[in-house]
C-alpha cells in the first residue's frame, strides 16, 4: 500500500546505493530541512486562509473571495505583500535583539517539528523522550517574545511581552500535567510508543472521564501557550495596539505571524498524538474487521485530519469568546486548571494502576 514511509525508505536506499554513509546523512538532513521549511510555508498559507474563512463564516461574511478560485490564493497574495514591505527597525530599538527575535521564534517552531510522527513510521527524529523534548522546547518560544518586546523599546511591546511571559510560564504547568496523564497511562515518553498504545482505541475513548478532563485542560493550556484568543493578551489589540509585535513590519512581522500559526499546528499535532492517536486509524478494541477497513485510509490522512480538527477547535474558540483580563488569566490557571489537573493526574494514576481503562 502507498505510504509516505515507503517513499522515505526508497529515497534512503537510493542514496545508500550511490553515496557513502556520511554523505547519505548530510543529504538526508538537507532534504529534511527543505521539507520542514516548505511545510512551514504551506502550513502558513493553509492556516491563514483557513482562519480567515472560518472567521468569515462565523461572522456571517464571505471572507476572502477575490484572489484565485474562491479566494484560496489570498494568503499567497498576503505573503507577497508582506515580502515587499519595508522591514523597519525603530530608532531607539536594540537592533541586534530586535532582528534576532523573529528568527528565534521561527527556529523554535522548527525544532518542535522534529519528534512529530506525520504518518506511520514517518518522523524526523524518533526520540525516546519526545514528549519531554516538546514541552521543554516549546517553553523557549517565550524568549523570542520577551526579546521582541524588550528590544522594541516601546511600552506597549514591553507590556505585551511581560504578559506573555507570565502567561506561558503559568500555562506550561497545566499543559505538562495534561501530557503527563497520558504518559502515566502509556508508561513511555516516546511518541511512537504512545501512538502504538492506542492501537486498540484512542486514549480519549479508552481513558474515561479523567482523560476527557485532561483533554479539556490541554486544549485550554495550548490555546494560552500559543497566545491565541481568548488568551491573546500579549497582542491584545484593543489594549496594547499589537503587543509585542507593535513595532515589527514586513517580513519580520510575517515570521512572528508564521511562527504563531505553525505553533498552533504543532501543539495540535501533539494533542492529536496524545489523545486522538496520532496517525493511528480509528480502531475499536478487538473488532478486527472494522479495524482492518479503517487501515485502508492512509495514516497521514488520519494524522492531518485529527490535527486540523483540533486547529479548527482553537479557531472556533478564537472567534467566539471575548478576551480574558490578565489577572483572570492567571486566576484561571492557578485556581482552576492547576488544582483540577493535579487531582486529575491522581485519578489517572489510580486508573492506570488498577487497569480501569480499556
Amino acid at each position: 500500500m502507498w505510504s509516505i514511509s515507503n517513499i522515505a525508505n526508497w529515497v534512503n536506499e537510493w542514496l545508500g546505493k550511490n553515496f557513502s554513509a556520511a554523505w547519505v546523512t548530510v543529504f538526508e538532513m538537507v532534504i529534511a530541512g527543505i521539507l520542514v521549511i516548505s511545510l512551514f510555508a504551506v502550513l502558513g498559507l493553509i492556516l491563514v486562509i483557513m482562519e480567515r474563512k472560518v472567521s468569515a463564516w462565523m461572522q456571517i461574511r464571505l471572507g476572502p473571495n477575490r484572489v484565485g478560485p474562491k479566494g484560496l490564493l489570498q494568503s499567497a497574495a498576503d505573503t507577497v505583500k508582506l515580502l515587499v514591505k519595508e522591514a523597519m527597525t525603530p530608532n531607539g530599538a536594540d537592533k541586534f535583539l530586535f532582528n534576532l527575535a523573529p528568527y528565534l521564534a521561527i527556529v523554535v517552531s522548527m525544532l518542535l517539528m522534529a519528534p512529530i510522527a506525520f504518518a506511520k513510521d514517518f518522523m524526523l527524529w524518533d526520540l525516546n523522550i519526545g514528549v519531554l523534548y516538546v514541552s521543554a522546547i516549546s517553553s523557549v518560544s517565550v524568549i523570542s517574545i520577551l526579546m521582541a518586546g524588550w528590544a522594541s523599546n516601546n511600552k506597549y511591546s514591553l507590556m505585551g511581552a511581560m504578559r506573555s511571559g507570565a502567561q506561558i510560564v503559568s500555562y506550561e504547568l497545566s499543559a505538562g500535567l495534561a501530557i503527563l496523564s497520558i504518559v502515566v497511562l502509556t508508561g513511555s515518553l516516546n511518541m511512537n510508543d504512545i501512538i502504538r498504545s492506542q492501537a486498540d482505541g484512542w486514549w480519549i475513548f479508552k481513558g474515561h472521564f479523567p482523560v476527557w478532563i485532561s483533554f479539556i485542560i490541554f486544549l485550554i493550556a495550548i490555546t494560552a501557550e500559543t497566545n491565541r484568543a481568548p488568551f491573546d493578551l500579549a497582542e491584545a489589540e484593543s489594549e496594547l495596539t499589537a503587543g509585542f509585535h507593535t513595532e515589527y513590519s514586513g517580513m519580520k512581522f510575517a515570521l512572528f505571524f508564521l511562527a504563531e500559526y505553525v505553533n498552533v499546528f504543532i501543539v495540535c499535532a501533539i494533542g492529536a498524538t496524545l489523545f486522538l492517536g496520532g496517525w493511528m486509524p480509528f480502531h475499536i478494541g478487538h473488532w478486527e474487521g472494522f479495524n482492518h477497513i479503517m487501515d485502508f485510509i492512509p495514516s497521514s490522512l488520519w494524522f492531518f485530519g485529527k490535527t486540523f480538527f483540533l486547529i479548527f477547535l482553537i479557531m472556533w474558540f478564537r472567534w467566539t469568546f471575548p478576551r480574558l483580563r490578565i489577572d483572570q488569566l492567571l486566576n484561571l490557571e492557578w485556581k482552576y486548571l492547576l488544582p483540577i489537573g493535579m487531582i486529575n493526574l491522581l485519578l489517572v494514576t489510580a486508573m492506570a494502576i488498577l487497569k480501569w481503562h480499556f
Binding site: 462565523m58 461572522q59 511600552k155 507590556m159 481568548p230 484593543s238 471575548p322 483580563r325 483572570q328
Partner: protein, 371 residues
C-alpha cells in the same frame, strides 16, 4: 543605549492611548499613568476633531443650525436634530402635527436601537470578541436601510425641520420596520448566547468600573451610565417631549453600578425601544407631516433650554437669543463630555483591560465630546 522616556519619578509608565488606538473608536487621546498593569491616573486630552460647532452656529440661521448637530453625536444624529427642532418650536410656539410627532418618535427609537447595536458590537470587539460586531451590524443595516428609504441618508439623516419632518414616511416604512422588529426579536436572544451569558464576559464586566450613584450624579453622567447606577434620569419620562407621555414604556434601571449594569441597561433599552415602536407603528395618525412655518425663523429674545434623551444620555441645547435670525450664543450639553469626566474616577486602581471595558460601556462618541 535604550533611553528611559515617559516615566514618572516613581518609575510609573506614562502611556498614550490614542489619538490613534484601536480601543478609542476615534481620536480620543488618553494619557494614562500605569504602575505595572494597574492604572493610577487617566487624563483625557481632547480637541482632535473640535470643530467649534457652538461658534459656527452663531452665524447660522435657525433652520440651518439643526443640521450641524448631526455631526456631533453622529450615532444619534436624528435625536440631536430632534432636540434642536423642539427648541425652535418651543420658542416660536409652533404646533407640530400629530403625524410628524409620531414619525419623529419612531425614528428616534430606531436611531436609538441602531446606536446601541453599534455600541454592542464595538464594545464586544474591545473586549476581544470579534463575531458580535458583525452580528450587530446585520440588524443595524436593516435600520439604516429604513432610514435611507425615508430620510434619504443612512447616518446623518437631516430629516427634521422646525415644524415637522422633511417628507412623509416612505410607503415601505411600516412593512420594513415590522420586518426589522420580527428579525430583532429573533436575534436578540443570540446576543445573550454570544456575549451576555458568557462567563469570560461576565467576569470582565462584573465589578469593573464601579460608579456609585453619588459619584455618577456628581460627575453629571446621564443616560444609561447614570441608569446603570440606579438613578432614574430618563428625559423621556421626567421631561416628556412629543408624544412620549402617551406611550407605554419602562425606564430601564439597574443597580449594579458597574460595567455589567450599564451593559444590561442598554440591552434592555433596545427592547423598550422596540416596545415603543410596536405601539406606534400601526397607529401613525393621519394628517400633515409639516406645520406651516414662516420663511424666516426668528426666535423671541430670551433664553431657551431643551433636552432630549439621546442614545448616550441627556443632550441639552441652550440658546441665548437676541431676537435675531441667528442665535447669540448656543451651548450644546453633550452627554459624552460629562460621562467622560467620570472615566478617571472609575479607572483608578483597575487594570488596562478594564479601561477598555469601561470606555466601552460609557459608549463614548468622540465628535460628541469634542463638538
Amino acid at each position: 543605549m535604550v533611553e528611559e522616556i515617559g516615566t514618572t519619578a516613581d518609575g510609573d509608565l506614562i502611556i498614550n492611548v490614542g489619538p490613534q488606538h484601536p480601543a478609542t473608536h476615534g481620536v480620543l487621546h488618553l494619557v494614562i499613568t500605569l504602575n505595572g498593569e494597574t492604572i493610577k491616573k487617566v487624563e483625557p486630552h481632547l480637541g482632535y476633531i473640535h470643530r467649534s460647532i457652538e461658534k459656527m452656529c452663531e452665524s447660522l440661521s435657525y433652520r440651518q443650525f439643526i443640521y450641524v448637530t448631526s455631526r456631533m453625536d453622529y450615532l444619534s444624529s436624528h435625536i440631536n436634530n430632534h432636540g434642536c427642532a423642539l427648541l425652535v418650536e418651543k420658542a416660536m410656539q409652533i404646533e407640530v402635527p400629530a403625524r410628524a410627532q409620531a414619525i419623529r418618535v419612531l425614528l428616534d427609537e430606531l436611531t436609538r436601537i441602531a446606536s446601541h447595536e453599534l455600541w454592542w458590537g464595538a464594545m464586544a470587539m474591545d473586549l476581544g470578541a470579534f463575531t458580535p460586531f458583525f452580528h450587530a451590524f446585520r440588524e443595524r443595516e436593516m435600520i439604516n436601510e429604513i432610514m435611507e428609504d425615508t430620510c434619504g441618508a443612512r447616518l446623518t439623516m437631516n430629516y427634521i425641520l422646525p415644524g415637522g419632518v422633511l417628507e412623509d414616511i416612505h410607503p415601505d416604512f411600516v412593512k420594513k420596520t415590522k420586518e426589522f422588529i420580527a428579525l430583532f426579536k429573533r436575534k436578540v436572544d443570540e446576543y445573550f448566547e454570544l456575549l451576555t451569558g458568557n462567563i469570560i464576559f461576565q467576569n470582565r464586566m462584573k465589578g469593573v468600573g464601579i460608579l456609585s450613584a453619588e459619584d455618577a450624579i456628581s460627575f453629571g453622567c446621564s443616560g444609561p451610565t447614570l441608569r446603570g447606577s440606579g438613578i432614574s434620569c430618563d428625559v423621556r419620562k421626567h421631561y416628556p417631549y412629543e408624544i412620549y407621555s402617551q406611550l407605554q414604556f419602562e425606564e430601564v434601571l439597574e443597580t449594579g453600578c458597574d460595567s455589567l449594569a450599564r451593559y444590561l441597561v442598554r440591552l434592555r433599552e433596545m427592547k423598550q425601544s422596540i416596545h415603543i415602536i410596536e405601539q406606534l407603528i400601526d397607529n401613525i395618525p393621519e394628517g400633515d407631516f409639516q406645520a406651516k412655518t414662516k420663511a424666516v425663523l426668528k426666535l423671541p429674545k430670551g433664553e431657551f433650554y431643551q433636552r432630549v434623551e439621546t442614545a448616550r444620555g441627556e443632550f441639552g441645547i441652550y440658546v441665548v437669543s437676541e431676537g435675531g435670525t441667528t442665535p447669540y450664543r448656543i451651548k450644546f450639553r453633550s452627554p459624552g463630555f460629562s460621562n467622560l469626566s467620570a472615566l478617571d474616577h472609575m479607572a483608578r486602581g483597575s487594570k488596562i483591560g478594564d479601561l477598555v471595558a469601561m470606555m466601552g460601556t460609557l459608549d463614548l462618541v468622540i465628535p460628541d465630546i469634542d463638538r
